[in-house]
Symmetry: C2
Subunit: 255 residues, 2 copies
Amino acid sequence: MCQLLGMNCNTPTDVTFSFAGFAQRGGRTDHHADGWGIAFFEGRGARLFIDPSAAADSPVAELIRRYPIKSRNVISHIRKATVGAVLLENCHPFMRELWGRTWVFAHNGDLKDYAPRLHGQFRPVGGTDSEQAFCWLMQELAKAHAQVPPVDELTRTLRELLPRVSRHGTFNMLLSNGEALWAHASTKLCYVVRQHPFATARLADEELSVNFAEHTTPDDRVAVVATTPLTVGEQWTPFAPGELKVFVDGAPLSA
Amino acid sequence: MCQLLGMNCNTPTDVTFSFAGFAQRGGRTDHHADGWGIAFFEGRGARLFIDPSAAADSPVAELIRRYPIKSRNVISHIRKATVGAVLLENCHPFMRELWGRTWVFAHNGDLKDYAPRLHGQFRPVGGTDSEQAFCWLMQELAKAHAQVPPVDELTRTLRELLPRVSRHGTFNMLLSNGEALWAHASTKLCYVVRQHPFATARLADEELSVNFAEHTTPDDRVAVVATTPLTVGEQWTPFAPGELKVFVDGAPLSA
């Protein structure tokens, strides 16, 4: 099983604290040593860092831990190879352009006998079931909308499309276009919203605490989504099986 | 004017020496301080690093200088903004997927009154003439071939398409799908092939020399393409105006 980390904020925020604990799961506190990746949106563009080596040992991961890149939407993934070899092109997140917008996707789980009909413009570069699912989602979104629709319309379309993927297996996924973060759980995902009054949290995977009040203003709001809680001392809310949540400006939109 | 750097090799090679000199042009020895980027192919995947800050001061550029990423095809770009604001989405290289392959593109020059008809699947995310030209090239390649054709067929198609862009202005560009490096000059581009017997070269922009014989085997062959020669003591061959060259395994293919 792989691990997912997503962040959605109302103001550009650095993810170094959460990433520090998360990256430990890539080869140190957990067995996900087959590559990792992280994407940061900045306006309509995104920085994508992917690496087929273990996150705990990667010089690129070390850069991310030290160099605070501020972003309103972040998706990260640590990989335990189940389908597809340990190659750069099989590292999540995957990135594509649709409607002149950047889309980023990461998946945790396995899709059995999954071979969606990809007759459109999106084809997988690597050999994973995950990238197939992403290409199929992009293809179906492109068919459903002529240009980029508002977030709630995209959510409605995704609510129809996601069960058509998840009936093939485990499909916990994060998707963002820089405007919103969509998170779908079929088995395991949880989230926390950090907002005023900010408290102190301690990483579950590393001896590191942070007092968020020291690093934030009262208006800041940050939602963090992860496979399992990254911190102790915070209230993480688990997703129900089959649940899709969309996060905008650091909070989940109500359905 | 921006600066271009491309590398094509017969064996994975690190670009740290050439990049060290090249990055100095991003804000120190030359006035290209509006962002930079570099893409490394690794199999069918690519690592893309882009940064809207000056290459000479960027922590990400510092990582590239120190951490030797080995690749057979590299494209890098330092930007002096002429069209499009200083934003992440306007940094070259640009990346897209076509036929399940990764394509990377960077451009130096200006295209005047350039508004190609983009009726296909590729739309610019940012506001540059360069990304428009890339989207148009991808769209026309997609129309010309149903799936990824051999390098010589792609070269023939590009030979027809490129003059249709360059008649709008200056169009020096580098394009790669990880298999070959296409380089087109409308005004300024030159290249060098490094092969046995390897000599010593000194960077034109920084006090740094390298004896390639110490870092290579007799079978290694590396082609480097750049806007202007990066070294002294090597024979750089200038492109003729309108010339397209394709590099495979570290050498230009004959036309």
